[in-house]
């Protein structure tokens, strides 16, 4: 009894609680890392590879953090990939074509992404149009706008200062990783500690109850989509800096990687449930698997297939947790059958 109590108390500590609620994805992550460490001890465990894996993960992480909020309020944002392209293109264009100062160009690029999110959010909240449709339209609008601006050509940028944003290092750690750590901390704080975070869970968990509890639903919804747009735009700027250019096709499929990270991390597609820590682990699993496949020289099309299968398995496990799941019933009937045979 006392053992059980101390166990229950332990679970209430934030760190332990975080580990427990993510036990599934955490074990997957550990198994993959262990397997990789054994299979590829030299290349995987080298500090340069670890840093490069983290850096590769970072871009998806920025977007997935915003997506987590969106999915918790039982929404979806399909436009984030196009927003990555739009903000990168505008920022690079303003610097190279129009000669804007770098800081101003970056702010404009990022605010533009936030504006895309704000518009989607406003239409979704105010007019109750399904998020899937609104953000799909925004996906086309943003990519279209980027291509109109750039004439669908890639634009090179050679500015050293701009390069530092994506390529710079602090104490030997690439800057994108540092942004990632900061953003994870900020978003965890927002979701777990602020009123805004509590409201987000309430809206996804039970909209009517949230409304009657005085939650300003529309404002929160609009803010969530704005944040998602802002983070995607930030990812766009960092990516443009890393590629020394703005590309018309950049960001295609990014929305799916972000959604995959959330789903892998246990964020419920029906809303109300999910944690930043889960999304972080989800993004890491996806990133590490890609890294493994890269180390094995698997071509990118096979990588897509592997990613798809992993997502399916993750969702399957997640939905089979409940007691009346098909999987459990199947196992139960197998058990009974075996029991009968033994008895006979």
């Amino acid at each position: 009894m006392s053992k059980k109590n101390t166990f229950a108390k332990l679970k209430e500590l934030p760190v332990i609680g975080m580990l427990f609620s993510n036990i599934g994805i955490l074990s997957v992550l550990l198994i993959i890392c262990a397997a990789l460490a054994i299979a590829e001890p030299k290349s995987f465990l080298s500090s340069s590879n670890i840093l490069s894996v983290l850096r590769q993960i970072s871009n998806n992480m920025y977007i997935a953090l915003g997506m987590t909020l969106v999915i918790i309020i039982s929404g979806i944002d399909l436009s984030v990939g196009s927003v990555v392209c739009l903000s990168g293109t505008i920022t690079v264009g303003l610097i190279t074509l129009s000669g804007y100062p770098i800081w101003l160009a970056i702010i404009i690029g990022i605010l533009l992404g936030a504006l895309c999110g704000f518009c989607s959010g406003t239409i979704i909240a105010q007019f109750k149009v399904p998020a899937f449709i609104v953000t799909m339209a925004m996906m086309n609008i943003a990519r279209g706008a980027a291509n109109v601006y750039s004439g669908a050509r890639s634009m090179r940028i050679t500015d050293k200062v701009f390069e530092t944003i994506g390529m710079g290092k602090l104490f030997g750690i690439p800057l994108p990783i540092i942004y990632m750590v900061i953003l994870i901390a900020v978003m965890s704080f927002v979701l777990n500690k602020t009123k805004f975070g509590t409201y987000i869970y309430a809206i996804g968990g039970n909209r009517e109850s949230a409304r009657l509890s005085g939650v300003p639903i529309k404002k929160v919804e609009i803010a969530v989509y704005t944040i998602a747009g802002l983070l995607a735009a930030f990812a766009g700027v960092v990516l443009a800096s890393r590629m020394y250019s703005a590309q018309p096709s950049v960001g295609e499929g990014f929305e799916l990687d972000a959604i995959a990270a959330c789903v892998l991390g246990g964020v419920s597609m029906s809303g109300g449930k999910g944690r930043i820590s889960g999304t972080v682990l989800g993004a890491m699993v996806i990133g590490i698997i890609s890294n493994w496949l890269n180390l094995l020289d698997v071509n990118s099309f096979w990588q897509l297939i592997v990613k798809g299968i992993i997502i399916l398995i993750a969702v399957l496990i997640d939905t089979q947790k409940s007691s009346d799941s098909a999987l459990k019933k199947l196992l139960g009937s197998v058990k009974r059958l075996c029991g009968k045979k033994n008895a006979a």
């Binding site: 209430e12 009123k195 009517e208 009657l212 509890s213």
Partner: protein
Amino acid sequence: MSHTVLRMEGIDKSFSGTHALKNINFELKLGEVHALLGENGAGKSTLIKVLGGIHQPDSGSIFINDEKVNIRGINEARKYGIGIIHQEIVLVPFLTVAQNIFLGHEPVRAGVVDSKTINADAQEMVARLGLDIDVTTPLERLTIAQQQMVEIVKASSFNVKILVMDEPTSSLSDEEVEKLFETIEKLKKQNVSIIYISHRMEELFRISDRITVIRDGTYVGTKNTSETNASELVSMMVGRTLKSFYVRTYNEISETVLSVRNLSRKGEFEDVSFDVHKGEILGFSGLVGAGRSEIMQSVFGALPSDRGEIVLNGNTVKFKNPKQAIKAGISLVPEDRKNEGLVLMNSVSYNIKLASLHFVMNGIAESRKKISALVSDYMQRLRIKAASPEIEVSSLSGGNQQKVVLAKWLAARPDVLILDEPTRGVDVGAKQEIYSIINDLAANGMAIIMVSSDLPEIINMCDSVCVVRSGRIVAKLPREELTQERIMNYATGGNEQ
């Protein structure tokens, strides 16, 4: 009446540690209405799920017509003539009545669904139960009561011999309850045996032949309805004798806290005026759909009004949304606990803090300390039974869930507390506790409005009662003049004829 159609013997069932059913016996005779009575969490629904093939018992046997059977799924249950009508309607709103009735076993002619036959057969089934429903209308256009009737028709389409009804009257008006009882009588005559689950004592005495009581997963006893009484049943259910069910000490009524004048909303309610004072419990009675809940929602800012004036603590107020009402000191405990009151998938603590975040902030962050102080304070005060404040609120019994909703709205420290059906779907023990909480609140000077369809509750708890009919307050009755007949007369318009 003597032939036994169903016997459940020694049914035992455990779920990961909880012993839900302990050696339960149950017996059902041909053409009888057998009520199953017990507090929430006593094991009624688990027993029903065992019968319906949703759960397999760990031990024990089920006999149908004295033949031992193994029910392994819903389809097998149907094969044995077992039909279950759940508390919530589980039909498809966009399909027609006929399509709903035949959903999953449509007659097919040459690979195509034969809608002519469906409609004709469905209409005949509806007529057989003496109902007046056009089977070609989409289900969503029917009232809740009619939809429930469709559920019954659907169950009877499987040639049902044993029909389980789980709280069938929880969302019906008195008139609709009468219709339901007529239908039950018809089913009895067709030799259908009925297991009837309800908390409403008066109903059991009207409709049932026998009553079986279970408590904490164990069988307590079976009584012939004609040979028992409410207080005996209650003491069987709770395992002790409840002295006085209603708790009310009347207070000196002092200053007016809330006064509403000529509040109107087109098509919902008109010229509604009332005052609530410190320490007063003002009741709102009337038929379901009379507009009581809408009036309260409007006072609370959740439903806009066309005209009228609301004065709170001497200031004229106009709330655009519930947030403003909460800030000004009004709390509304909504009627529908699951859909409006709680975020079921979240913890007890989360739900309690949700309407009073402004009290637990520490700068821009919520303070863990303040939240846990607030939550444990209210959990103690309302005696909420939960293993921990962090467990999901959906795992609590109905009574405890309702106390969580109450705690949430008391934590917002209101001057005016509006309770919409505060004891709906709550078992007897918890009901009494809730009455005593409400009484204490009034004694401490809170102004309370109580909307309820439970007449004894209204009569025994309120200082005075407004009776609402078709969106208007048709009578204001002081405590001394409250009788069930009087209220019903005003509610139905019976006194005018």
